[in-house]
Symmetry: C2
């Protein structure tokens, strides 16, 4: 491996933002300032788009107070992008890199972003340009491989948990059937977080459906009726990515027009159609029931003021670690490893980009109950430390 | 006025819950314990339904620690109800009141609940039953008359403000047209709270539509296009109750089946249909734009862990005040009065039930801009102290 070349660095942010993605940004800037190998630190506006068009700003000379506030500000401070660069675009980016003497790229994002980082790395090799490329993980979906969990997930899980804590109490106050649609295309981690606030035996969500299991509409309606018979109400958590046995998402089969982004993903969020469809299924079977559906939408990844402290800390940590790894490695993805033992603790490690790029991870079977309509205590043990301590909830004696 | 009769009290909670409605409950219990006139304090389960069926629990012997946790727990701890009692039902309730020697009713709710309280009071008069009836205000809609504002509004406004702070940054990161539907049937107070977090000149929401003004779909699409031309993005806040010139709500005109509750209200929440409809209008006019819609739904009134301290304090205050008024008055609604002067301060007053019952209040004209598509600085001055200090947001230099 060649010795670390002295030069400048650039940071990009990519994919759906989170509320802690700027912690990673600031972590990289802070560590780069202390690094002996990195001079200037640039920020590319809207990820690879900024590299393509040479739209960069300086980050190493930002005031400390600015960086401190930006760190806890939701969404990508540099702007984000969903774009997989072509070979031709990569070559155009190298013009910018050469001009700015950039030898280090830190790309913050999910598995699509890891793929982009890998494309840039391969391009650099064929161009014989001495570039070190690091992927800094971020996603509310928690669907990256290898890592114990992803920065961004803990805060989104905290939002979903708090939403269900409140909505469960609301549903208990006024009764009825309530269906909440949670983000999650292929993995149910975020939807599963709906159970983190359950405290009393009758607390909802009473049913949870995730993309790891086939969704059967008849079975769903029967499940709801059973809970409603028992409790006089029913609160349901559903992933936006639930699909039938053929693999077709329910959202897809009801969408009048499916939009696709550059990575071939179907648009599932930003529409209330799935929730309304599921509510209408229940209404048809139980015509007198009060049935409502909410789709949590973009608040799950952007809501200000609902940040998990552990998540914020770890997002900063993986940013700093990326710079430290850059001193002794050419490329890689920073991952989190959970230490064994009672007390929650994570450290970082570096793995090859290709191990994380492109593919997604689903929830292990032990997180889902046998019937495929609820989440297990094993998941709660896994996710509770990530979301942090929740808002306390009390119940009057005699109720 | 007859002297205050010694006897027992009952508390009911009614209408859509809030995150601070239990502060008022606990405030009443605490003050009643200190009152010389009230012995036992009962809680009626699900408001007037509990009075009808004699489903009451004791509240005065609840442990202090339980009351402290319940106070900051979202949604109605006693259960809520949407029910306007008939004359016959009122008479049935008096059987419960007599049996339990209840001389004081404290009913926590909105304008429909004030009406219910008034019906109970009139019934007591005709029955010559010595009953004192107090309405303790609660509503996220802030649409009660007389009072400066309603407990419950500040926290819901805080939720909406934080949601828009985050979503504005998300929209700035990935661009596009984003439409958020906010609760508010007749009044735009909650939707207007979307602007409370605006800080930079290009911050959204860029357009705000409230039920106080007629909504014109063509005008809306034109407004969005203008903002998008200027900023390359557009964030919109829309009340669920927006209506056309004839007064028909847009939600109503697109609803396949409108549900009505006992007070004759049409169901607007718990469906993503309005947001999806508005998004499709924009898509039709701007086919290549990335257009998304979210409907905030029930989270606005139930989300755990997003409570305005001022709101929590005042919700407790109006509960305590109701008990104090009950020592020297027969009935009334507790209202909040804002003191003149720079520093925000509110005190309580008592007004006749009939002045608050049934009717709703809309936003004054000075809170809405001339074009009817934005909110003024006068509103911000009014609402900012109610929502409390928001999560700080920073922006990198050079952006």
């Amino acid at each position: 491996m060649p010795a670390a070349a002295r030069g400048n660095a650039v940071i990009g942010q990519s994919g759906g933002p989170t509320v802690v993605i700027n912690e990673s940004l600031v972590g990289i800037v802070e560590a780069a300032r202390l690094s002996g190998a990195i001079d200037k630190v640039f920020g590319a506006l809207h990820g690879v788009s900024g590299l393509l068009d040479d739209r960069l700003i300086r980050l190493d000379d930002q005031p400390a107070a600015t960086l401190a506030t930006v760190a806890s500000t939701p969404a990508a401070a540099l702007g984000s992008v969903r774009r997989k660069p072509t070979r031709e675009e990569c070559l155009r980016m190298f013009a910018t890199l050469r001009k700015r003497d950039i030898r280090y790229i830190f790309y913050i994002g999910g598995n699509d972003s890891a793929e982009t980082a890998n494309i840039l790395l391969e391009c650099a090799r064929s161009e014989r340009y001495p570039l070190r490329v690091f992927h800094v993980p971020k996603t509310i979906d928690n669907d990256l491989r290898v890592t114990d969990h992803c920065p961004g997930y803990g805060s989104a899980a905290r939002f979903v948990a708090h939403a269900f804590v409140g909505d469960n109490l609301d549903n208990r106050s006024l009764k009825g059937i309530k269906i909440n649609v949670v983000m999650g295309r292929h993995a149910g981690f975020l939807t599963a977080a709906a159970v983190l606030g359950r405290q009393y035996p009758d607390d909802g969500p009473h049913l949870v459906y995730v993309p790891e299991r086939d969704f059967d509409e008849k079975r769903f309606v029967r499940d709801v009726a059973l809970v409603n018979d028992r409790l006089g109400r029913c609160l349901v958590a559903v992933s936006e990515g639930i699909h039938d046995r053929s693999g077709t998402t329910i959202a897809e089969s009801i969408a009048r027009r499916a939009e696709r982004d550059a990575h071939g993903n179907i648009q599932l969020s930003g529409s209330g159609a799935l929730g309304d469809h599921l509510a209408s299924l229940v209404k048809r079977a139980m015509p007198t029931a009060r049935v409502r559906a909410d789709t949590f939408g973009y608040l799950q990844r952007s809501f200000a003021g609902c940040i998990s402290e552990t998540d914020a800390h770890e997002a900063r940590l993986v940013g700093r670690a990326a710079v430290e790894y850059a001193a002794r490695a050419t490329s890689g993805t920073v991952v989190l490893r959970r230490s064994a033992g009672q007390r929650y603790r994570c450290t970082t490690a570096l793995v090859p980009l290709a191990r994380v790029a492109k593919h997604t991870r689903q929830m292990p079977a032990r997180f889902i109950n046998r019937e495929g309509n609820d989440i297990t205590a094993a998941f709660v043990a896994y996710a509770a430390p990530l979301a942090g301590k929740l808002h306390p909830v009390g119940r009057l004696r005699g109720l």
